[in-house]
Symmetry: D2
Subunit: 124 residues, 4 copies
């Protein structure tokens, strides 16, 4: 039996359409607001229908040497064709950090489960 941690899949987003892509600066200033964008489908689009869709992303930050990740943002994509409306799987958050560390993003597809990606960020 796998743990849930072992069920968090990953891969190269250029070939695996479920992997969240993290768009973040490599370097930021401590305490200054900056934007990160997380998206799915930058290279290969993912379906967006009532039967099959990306439901949400969660974004965490784990400081270098820190014991625990801190949740930054949760994005829920809610419209998948209802009354002709669609929400694409992309979210932007505005954040402030004060230590260098790693941004982790998780995406959930209602059919294909949990996928994760990460990116290091230097805070000066």
């Amino acid at each position: 039996m796998k743990t849930l941690g072992q069920l968090l899949q990953t891969g190269d987003w250029k070939g695996e359409k479920h992997v969240p892509v993290i768009h973040a600066p490599e370097k930021v200033k401590a305490g200054e607001v900056f934007e990160i964008k997380v998206s799915v489908g930058d290279a290969i689009g993912h379906p967006n229908t009532l039967e099959h869709y990306i439901a949400w992303f969660k974004v965490f930050f784990h400081a270098d040497g820190g014991k625990f990740p801190v949740e930054i943002a949760n994005f829920d994509f809610k419209a998948h064709g209802e009354d002709g409306n669609f929400t694409e799987p992309a979210g932007v958050a505005r954040i402030k950090l004060d230590k260098s560390g790693t941004i982790h993003a998780v995406s959930y597809c209602n059919i294909h489960g949990l996928w994760e990606n990460s990116q290091e960020i230097v805070v000066e």
Copy 2:
């Protein structure tokens, strides 16, 4: 006793810092992806501390003549100082519509309750 609908406060975001500001084009093409941004604090910043913060936005779309609003996106802002991390109250969604109507945004402050705003959008 008020209904919850009656507890959704509103106002001018230039003077009332809890009112969500909707940044959306006035006119879009049917079925084309576009961005909307919702934020709080464009004119007057809102506190962002463990004790007092904007917790989330929800965004709905109500087509002209439609009976029901459809939820577009939910944004949760999760870090309010934990380990030096902060999430600002702003979110961007990428959406597609096929009818003209109204975008509704709701924000929730853990101390000052529910606030709403709306903006019409023409879909051609």
Copy 3:
């Protein structure tokens, strides 16, 4: 143009299947944990399919004479047939209050929009 507050529909849950039913004691002791259950479909079941489902409830508490409602709980019902799994639209929260007031529940159907109900509760 209606406000979102005006789009929060209500009705008698015995005849309107979208209205959340609040199961809560009439009277509780200040600072003592008790349970509230919110459900949809007690009298008439609501569909639970990939195309049509109850997506979530939010629960708020508004103290008598208080200015703002405080969010108590958010329940998201996520499985609507994926791999044979279904989540029914019902949630239980364990809460403590210290003033009398009103519990407000909102439910969202992906097709039929937002519905609310409320129940007064005496805190001694």
Copy 4:
């Protein structure tokens, strides 16, 4: 650098207060609704203050031999002292399954990060 999957901590809930406890039957009938309860603090209570709290649980089901977990429910515990209101970290979901498998629960503490637990369930 750890993956997020590697940051999902676990342990014995009798000694580690962050581990979600899953209360579920060992055996259920296919397609019959049953309840699962997830809680934190059954043996050792967790703080519930504005500065330190359990923010949410997610619950997934992974069928034996299935490739992907399916999300069942998300519970957000929202009140941590605002206006004297508190939401305890416990949630109940009503679900239907049609295959045997494993229930996975994740909890998030705003200070101590992500914790998981799981329980097998036989579906007849």
